[in-house]
Subunit: 138 residues, 2 copies
DNA sequence: TAATTTGTGCAACCGGGTTGCAAACTTATT
DNA sequence: AATAAGTTTGCAACCCGGTTGCACAAATTA
């Protein structure tokens, strides 16, 4: 649905260039979060820098959120239309050590943490590593 | 205290070479977790590879634990003598966006997460980003 | 002492991420 | 429509943390 792609970009105030539509389209079709190298491979030939910067603007404008899953490659997944990436809106991510896929556990919010006196939380990253439901067999 | 260094290494079954004693000594004197580049700088001249491998054996033998704080550089901090790095023993880490130091919030265990059906957790990484008590003023 | 294992040091490489700069394209202004 | 200003894209090159291969040194064992 091209329409929904454009709408997302409009909502988040990102100019809908061909490149951006394409990238967002790809991202929204994934069943797991992907990184720059993986995104790059989805194109016959595309410039890494452009994809890199596209991802960056998307993150800035909160079209997508980035996930540091500990693999050394930052992953990205689309945000909901209403997402503002506040700590309270954050969810847990899961990295499967077998299929090596990183997924959003959107239904699992990051639990509240009681920080020590005078600490201020701006962001929380929580990644569970293990076996996903598909790989946890046998 | 040289003695405690040697004891730690003995407990975790790591042969106490000069290099290892030195590295562990440095690590245990830190008030925050440090990465390979920062460790390297503590030496007038030292080989990155050796330090790298020293850290690696330390992590393998659970003398120290590694922390992915999202900066792109893996940080390390000493474990307690009895630590086995099980999920239940894990604590939250904090990264200050101002002083850029990563610290162990050893008193704050990682909360239990109710994973979806058939998921298996082997490890959990939880990093809070924000302002530490020192930097959160004014 | 010789043979084997373990640790250290150098060099070189890898790969994700990032920047500088110029060309292409878009938008605003006259 | 023509020009100027801003934005996006593409290429090349670089940075840096991490990692590997290989040879030498040190320690351990036979």
């Amino acid at each position: 649905m091209k329409k929904s792609i454009d709408k997302s970009l409009e909502i988040k105030q990102v100019k809908p260039t061909a490149m951006r539509q394409l990238v967002l389209d790809i991202l929204s079709k994934q069943d797991h979060a992907i990184g720059l190298p993986e995104l790059e491979m989805q194109f016959a030939q595309a410039d890494r820098t452009t994809l890199y910067r596209t991802l960056k603007t998307f993150v800035d404008k909160k079209v997508i959120h980035s996930i540091d899953d500990g693999t050394g490659t930052i992953k990205y997944a689309v945000c909901t239309d209403t997402c503002h990436c506040n700590p309270s809106e954050l969810h847990v991510h899961f990295y499967c050590i077998k299929c090596e896929k990183t997924t959003c556990l959107t239904d699992i919010p990051i639990p509240d943490i009681q920080l020590p006196e005078n600490y201020f939380a701006e962001n929380i990253n929580m990644v569970v590593k293990g076996l996903c439901n598909r790989c946890n067999k046998g």
